[in-house]
């Protein structure tokens, strides 16, 4: 697994920069081409793609927070067919 996902709660229309600031992430710790992806705009929930190591750091930094920020798995997906 080369990358994982982390989530962050931010106001509507948040930017990647604001997410990086909140999570104290350096540029080389985030997949910038993936960006900041809204998961549930009504809940202000966003996702970022980071390395496994960064995912572990974010988890450790979250401490006892009620929001689990990740890391979440980023498994490979494949077409279901034709069956072989």
């Amino acid at each position: 697994m080369t990358s994982v996902l982390i989530t962050v709660r931010l106001p509507r229309d948040a930017t990647l920069e604001s997410a990086m600031r909140k999570l104290e992430l350096a540029e080389d710790e985030v997949d910038g081409s993936y960006g900041l992806v809204p998961i549930d705009p009504d809940e202000g929930l966003y996702a970022l793609r980071v390395s496994e190591e960064t995912g572990r750091r974010i988890h450790a930094a979250a401490g006892d927070s009620t929001h689990y920020p990740g890391p979440y798995s980023n498994p490979r997906i494949e077409p279901y067919g034709p069956p072989s």
């Binding site: 809204p38 996702a47 793609r49 798995s73 490979r76 279901y80």
Partner: protein
């Protein structure tokens, strides 16, 4: 339990049963068997007696040269009946004693034809699917997909190939199409592959739908093949589709998303129980965004997968419960596969699902000659084909019924309730609620329209 009862009635009766010119009935030979409900529709059958071919042979052994005698004093007669499950052992042991003609009671197990598997020839063609989906009836109701956005989340569409295979034009909505970062192809102009098959199959029931080409399986991740992707790309695709949905007027929203893909192996995932796991965890970001998009008005369909016990795909690596992650989400329709004879294909994954137990939901048609995306002789197969066939039907319904008028949750319920029940009575993990039944759907929509008027 259904049973076969072997009797040796009078010689005249055995001779009559053995004579094809004489009509006999079950009650002629076996009336009054205690505890047996006789199947009177079953014509008695004469069974020859095996006897040793050589003089002095053991009359009880079948492991020797035999001849089969239909002489009335040798042959016997079979009838069919049913014994209550809780009485079976008692009745079977008592019947020969209580009725002198009875010489044996045997199980009458259900026999089934061999299930269609991967590599088998097509079963019917897409015109059969058109007929089974009553596409003409749908069109007569004004349900042809006009004005409905139908997203094919797959390997990209080749519109020229699909046009040629269908023999008619199609609409690709390039503006609302999407590709992962790094994928440079043009919507509707990707290589002919799995995505073109899905597009073709979706257009069977919804010929006028507007296709959104979401080439999520083409992401260029390191170490991957050309035709796989990462779940994070699907999250980005769904965020894009949320924007598409939100841009539609609330009163006329219609967005159907067909997903013929999944994760074959737990090897790529955190283990179940880990808070970052995908397969069993409704809190995974992809499962959250799927729920959020469905709640906002999108109809989301996922293939149940090709990990059916009878002939699973070689890539299947889950030891059990292969319908995992979003493919088993409570707010999506998980689509199993049947061939055009209505029989479940052997590779169609069985439930229970990992996020929601009652998966698959319903069945749609697969394994038919259609798009020819994989060659002229190759069928459109897998639950990969069944999913867009079902998605096309949903898109056809959305022509007249926006998600404001018929919310996705109610549409899912309607499709389950009207499905043609197969397998055991009621819900089962092979067929779900049954095969999508367009006649039932149209009738239900008419009743709903009349109620609303």
């Amino acid at each position: 339990m259904r049973v076969l009862i072997q009797l040796r009635p009078g010689l005249d009766l055995v001779a009559a049963v053995a004579d094809p010119s004489v009509v006999t009935s079950a009650s002629d030979v076996a009336d009054g068997l205690p505890g047996v409900v006789l199947d009177r529709s079953f014509t008695p059958v004469a069974v020859p007696r095996p006897i040793p071919a050589a003089p002095g042979g053991d009359p009880l052994s079948l492991n020797q040269p035999l001849i089969y005698s239909m002489a009335p004093d040798e042959a016997s007669v079979l009838v069919r009946g049913e014994i209550a499950d809780d009485e079976i052992s008692t009745r079977v042991s008592l019947l020969p004693a209580s009725h002198r003609d009875v010489v044996g009671v045997f199980a009458d197990p259900k026999i089934e034809k061999t299930l269609t598997c991967g590599g088998d020839d097509p079963v019917g063609d897409w015109h059969d699917v058109e007929r089974l989906l009553r596409v003409a009836d749908l069109a007569a109701e004004g349900l042809d997909g006009s004005g409905v956005a139908l997203a094919i989340a797959d390997t990209g569409i080749n519109a020229a190939h699909v046009t040629k295979a269908l023999g008619r034009g199609l609409t690709i909505d390039k503006e609302r199409s999407w590709s992962p970062s790094g994928v440079t192809g043009i919507p509707g102009e990707f290589d002919v592959d799995h995505g073109s098959m899905c597009a073709f199959d979706a257009l069977i029931a919804a010929p006028q739908a507007s296709l959104i080409d979401v080439s999520v399986l083409l992401s260029q991740r390191s170490g991957g093949s050309e035709l796989d992707g990462l779940l994070s790309d699907a999250i980005a695709a769904y965020a894009h589709l949320r924007g598409v949905l939100d841009a539609q007027p609330a009163e006329s929203r219609a967005l159907v998303i067909s997903n013929s893909w999944g994760s074959f192996s737990p090897r790529w995932d955190f283990p179940p129980g880990h808070p970052g796991n995908y397969s069993d965890n409704p809190a995974h970001p992809f499962n959250v965004i799927v729920g959020s998009l469905a709640q906002a008005g999108a109809d989301i369909l996922f293939a149940a997968g090709n990990c059916g016990r009878e002939c699973k795909d070689g890539r299947c690596a889950y030891p059990d419960r292969p319908i995992a992650g979003a493919n088993s989400h409570g707010r999506v329709l998980s689509i199993a596969g049947v061939d055009t004879d209505g029989d479940r294909v052997g590779y169609s994954s069985q439930g229970p699902g990992r996020l929601t137990a009652r998966k698959p939901d319903v069945c749609a048609y697969t394994h038919f000659s259609g798009s020819r995306a994989f060659g002229d002789a190759e069928p459109d197969s897998g639950t990969s084909a069944a999913c867009p066939v079902a998605a096309g039907l949903v898109a056809a319904i959305r022509t007249q019924w926006s998600s404001a008028e018929l919310p996705p949750s109610q549409l899912r319920t309607l499709l389950r309730r009207t499905a043609d029940d197969r397998g055991v009575v009621g819900y089962d993990y092979d067929y779900g609620y049954g095969v999508l039944d367009v006649a039932g759907i149209i009738a239900a929509l008419r009743r709903r329209a009349a109620k609303a008027a």
